[in-house]
Subunit: 180 residues, 2 copies
Amino acid sequence: MTSTRTELAIKAGYLFQQRGYHGVGLSEILESAGVPKGSLYHHYPNGKADLALAAAEIAATEVLRIIDASFDEAATYRDGVTTYCYKLAKYFDIHEGKIGCPVSATLLGGPDNAVFRETLSTIYSRWMDRLAEHAVRFGQSAAQADHNARRLFLSLEGSWTLARARGDSNVIRELPSLVC
Amino acid sequence: MTSTRTELAIKAGYLFQQRGYHGVGLSEILESAGVPKGSLYHHYPNGKADLALAAAEIAATEVLRIIDASFDEAATYRDGVTTYCYKLAKYFDIHEGKIGCPVSATLLGGPDNAVFRETLSTIYSRWMDRLAEHAVRFGQSAAQADHNARRLFLSLEGSWTLARARGDSNVIRELPSLVC
DNA sequence: CCTATAATAGACCGGTCGGTCTATTTGACA
DNA sequence: TGTCAAATAGACCGACCGGTCTATTATAGG
């Protein structure tokens, strides 16, 4: 049983990812999580902004988990990339093509606050660093690893956007052949 | 002198790109354009949604213009890509890092309407097709050209996002060395 | 069991949202 | 110049926004 606090952040996260920070009202979040307004402001005293940051943190960590799960069992770097993309494509389909990058709509769409931007920047760096670590583990030089990690990250961000526009997860599945 | 109709779409476009469809109110758009509400609904009877579609169309056409301007004077495909990225980085700086992809925030952030998604999909295809045309002009095979166009497009979408998160246009300038 | 705090519950608030409507001004053409 | 549609102007509307506040219910520690 997940706590009310976590449940709120997870449900809010899905909604923010679909319609952006400003596109989702508190009433919709509360209804989705089955939680009254009093509880929201008990767990997140700063309200919607706190909730969005918490939601992004949870989603970002989940992506790290998916990266590890993809590369830990891979035979080569390329295998890891392929598994990673397939997992993300499946995730995309599960959410009916309404969700792209799990954090950009939540944070970039939010108040043009320095905290939001820096949080997003940090999350992106964590993802790229983790990808680079796996690349190094497969024998790449630090420079090669950074280069490939950024390449994969940037293309993936684009793929999430194009996949949403087209409503087609294959955009994500075709990514390995484009970047490797 | 641009018409009131066009002026409205342009100003609305800038705002939508910065804060997303739901993040901008009509009052802010009207103030920015110096136009009363009556005029908005005279020129765009369906209001905000009409305005967003018109804004995206204008921005999308401007991108095509930049693509042509970059590649028409280029000596090689690679040169064209470099000029293109530098022009976009400059555009990014002019708008103080608040604007990334000129259409995604407007259309993906909007109502999860089929028209919005299809419009975005069409715009993206137009961009990639145009890039591919220039690649062919520089001697690439149709298959190569499509491959490179998609690669550039996807990475660019990612670069716009990362550049906004970091507040750093160099992300965009470094793109040619990453995709060529 | 009693008590104090955490957590839930939701009524309520001022402000802003997108949109409608009527009135006035402008400008092209007869 | 007279006419009429195009365009401008903004008051006004109900709905919903994020946030505050008080009251009630669970729950953990003594």
